[in-house]
Symmetry: C2
Amino acid sequence: MGSLPHTGAYSYGDIQNLKWSSTEKAVARKAFDRALQRELDEVMIEAKKRAEKIQEPSDLWDLEHFLTQRRTQIDRQFDYRYSVLIFVFADLIRRGRLSGQELQGLSEDKLASIRRYAEP
Amino acid sequence: MGSLPHTGAYSYGDIQNLKWSSTEKAVARKAFDRALQRELDEVMIEAKKRAEKIQEPSDLWDLEHFLTQRRTQIDRQFDYRYSVLIFVFADLIRRGRLSGQELQGLSEDKLASIRRYAEP
């Protein structure tokens, strides 16, 4: 676990080999599941709204396209492998899907890495 | 336009080369469009119903799957080429999407062919 930059964040390569304690795993799992549920809730609300407004056939295929897009995006984004979890959390924070508060319990250096990659 | 079977229906090969008068084309187009509209109306109603009932994420992807299936089925089935139109109409009649009444104006031998291929 070599190069810690002066920001306290790990380098890209190191992140893939980070060790997660069982406490950290529990925090991560909970935060991940919450963000996923939020994302899915939003898609459910949006799908219902779009379905209500369907008036012509093209609206149907727009809804289909919307669902396919959201499903593939969610599949791609919600990747619970410890080797990429820092980036997943950074992305969720950048997109306002998760608050730093919900990641309390992770080590300071993990939090610093998440903050660093969450920067626009 | 050789072999007319004794039922008055054309053979499979002959059907692909049938001539359609402009009156027949108008009848065919109207019947085709009506059946397509019925099919699409049904999908719109069903999609709204399914969307209303969405309670969990799997319901979302079931809706997506339903839409994809119906779209590909409709694309495949509603093929307005004169070389296949007899079979398209036969299929629509067999599935109760079109009545023989709506095809009045087509030649008797075309109607006989449609009836023949509409048989289960």
